[in-house]
Amino acid sequence: MEFFLQLLIQGLSVGFLYALAALGFVMIFKSSSVLNFAHGELLAIGAFIFLVFSVRLNLPIPIAFLFTLAGTFAMGFVIERLFLRPLIGEALIEVIMLTVGLAAMFKGLLLVIFGGNLFNYPDFLPKALTIEWGAITIPPVYVASFIIGIIFLSIFGFFFKYSSQGIYMRSVADNQPAALSLGVHVRRVFAMSWAIAALVCALSGIILGIMNGINVHDISIMGLKVFPVVILGGLESIGGAIIGGLIIGLLETFTGGYLSTSLKEVIPYVVLVFILLVKPYGLFGLVEIERV
């Protein structure tokens, strides 16, 4: 029972992280229908920028954190401007391949700069965040990630629902030509969504780094785990991303705990194929109906 609870909590926190990582992915997909294969690398870039600010430059943690967010926000703009903007209106395959290329590029670049070693952040989370509940202890990382996640999810929820920029983004996602004809600056929306997505990625990258340490390979594999999550939840749905993340996290942890650790890595993809066959648009995705 104790083992079960420990797994449950671990699974939920891993799942929460997946949800957070998937959030940036869904943002990009919602506003520009780009399937971003460079997602894991964006996570890694965020984590490494924070590493540079906090460890190498020795800035205080809050300032390093803010700098990281600002830096990745700007980086998102640059990526969109340099690589994605020339492809607006091009065939889907080219955009997908471009993100595959970007993924290889970023990964190579990170490996050249930082190497494939495991890095760690200094232990800066206060011990007071530890929750002890009977025999179960929840480490502060999980608590902190949960709090940060809740804060950011609600900020983005409000952003999409009420701010004009968020409404523009939703309109572009819904119908690009209609949004254009109503005077929405579609290109700015694309740039904005990449910037926000890079920021969200940095956030989840940092939390991931606190939990498991930062390693280019591990984090970029994480970016591919996002696919089962978003497919399960539905590509367009933020709520779906959260629920999908939790389900996949739990599934993975329980498989690792009860069945076998090697199966743990592959089970999300097995589930993915199964979902794609049974319910391709996920739990909360938009069902496209096509008839001939």
């Binding site: 391949m97 595959v100 290889a104 590029m105 190579g108 993915l272 194929v273 391709p280």
Partner: protein, 356 residues
């Protein structure tokens, strides 16, 4: 004797057959003959063993890339599982060659057929899925196959890998780079010939119709699911065949090479070479294989100079960076790839000195 045909000074085609011909002039046939002569008579005797080794790798990569181009470039179904299919072919050939006791030629062909079935299995999601969703499904296929290579130890021997027996063909021992050169390039020529002609038949036209507009294709009575599966099967056959050849060529296999990165490499080949172009796949295979060799040489070169070992260690990941850069560069600046560059060069020669 019929008259030689030269390039017309404009588009004077009157029948569809003329549009579909492979050789518009007799020069094309002549150059093909010259090319084949160079391929089979000149290169194997003039090249050093190392160069032959590289060319052999180009040949195998080109076979797999042509397969992937049939799937992505002609049918428009993006697959991220080609590296794993290549691996399936390698494992199938290895298992049939050792445990099954099949002869070399049969196990390579059987590897192609088995991979075709596996490819069809992973193509089944295409019945309901398109574009993004299908891409993700093939990504899942890649990971599942990769897992099986390592974990299904009773069949694949896990991380240890399998040693293959010596290849023999028609009673002759196929050993050394030159013998393999002939095996690889004879199959390359046959498979290229099949692919070039395939895309001109009703099947090829159906593939192109599905790529351009699947709904319209279905409206015109093309059973799209069947054709998509066929495209998956053909493309996987090419991958599996190339994989089988490579397993015999290298002599032993382990699960390491058949990762997602290999799939990305193949995609890079056909994008850099040119989507929807058979010569393009070959150009891409040449480009990527040479790039690979060049980078590994650079690494070795720096490794040997004591003071620069540190640079060498950073060059290894640089390979991935250069790959990504090449893909990104070609998509942004020359989306039709090297095949288009080649066409421009050719046509500027054709029109010279009146280039307008």
């Amino acid at each position: 004797m019929r008259r030689l045909r030269f390039h017309p000074c404009g588009n004077f085609k009157e029948r569809y057959e003329e549009e579909l011909t492979i050789f518009t002039t007799d020069f094309g046939r002549f150059w093909l003959l010259v090319g084949l002569l160079i391929l089979f008579v000149v290169i194997p005797f003039l090249s050093k063993p190392y160069l032959l080794y590289v060319i052999n790798h180009i040949g195998m990569a080109a076979i797999a890339a042509i397969g992937l181009n049939i799937l992505i470039g002609y049918t428009g179904q993006i697959s991220l599982g080609h590296g794993a299919f290549f691996g399936v072919g390698a494992y199938a050939a290895a298992i049939l060659g050792t445990a099954g006791g099949f002869p070399f030629w049969l196990s390579v062909i059987a590897a192609g057929v088995i991979t075709a079935w596996v490819g069809m299995l992973f193509g089944i999601p295409s019945v309901r899925l398109k574009h993004l969703y299908l891409t993700i499904a093939t990504l899942a296929g890649q990971f599942i196959l990769q897992y099986l290579f390592v974990q299904w130890e009773s069949l694949t021997k896990g991380p240890e890998g399998i040693m293959l027996p010596r290849a023999t063909l028609f009673g002759v021992d196929v050993k050394g780079d030159r013998a393999f050169y002939y095996v690889i390039f004879v199959s390359f020529v046959i498979l290229t010939w099949i692919a070039v002609n395939l895309v001109r038949t009703r099947y090829g036209r159906a593939f192109i119709a599905i790529r351009d507009n699947d709904r319209a294709a279905e409206g015109m009575g093309i059973p799209i699911f069947r054709y998509k599966l066929l495209s998956f099967a053909i493309s996987s056959f090419y991958a599996g065949f190339a994989g089988g050849l490579s397993a015999y060529y290298i002599g032993s296999i382990t699960p390491e090479p058949y990762t997602l990165f290999l799939s990305v490499e193949y995609i890079a080949m056909i994008i850099i070479g040119g989507l929807g172009s058979i010569p393009g796949s070959v150009f891409g295979a040449i480009f990527i294989t040479l790039l690979n060799e060049l980078l590994s040489h650079a690494t070795e070169f720096f490794m040997n100079i004591g003071a620069l070992t540190k640079i060498a260690l950073t060059i290894a990941p640089l390979r991935e960076f250069v790959f990504g850069l090449a893909i990104v560069f070609f998509i942004i600046f020359e989306p039709k790839g090297l095949a288009e560059v080649w066409r421009i060069i050719k046509s500027s020669f054709k029109l010279w000195p009146f280039s307008y």
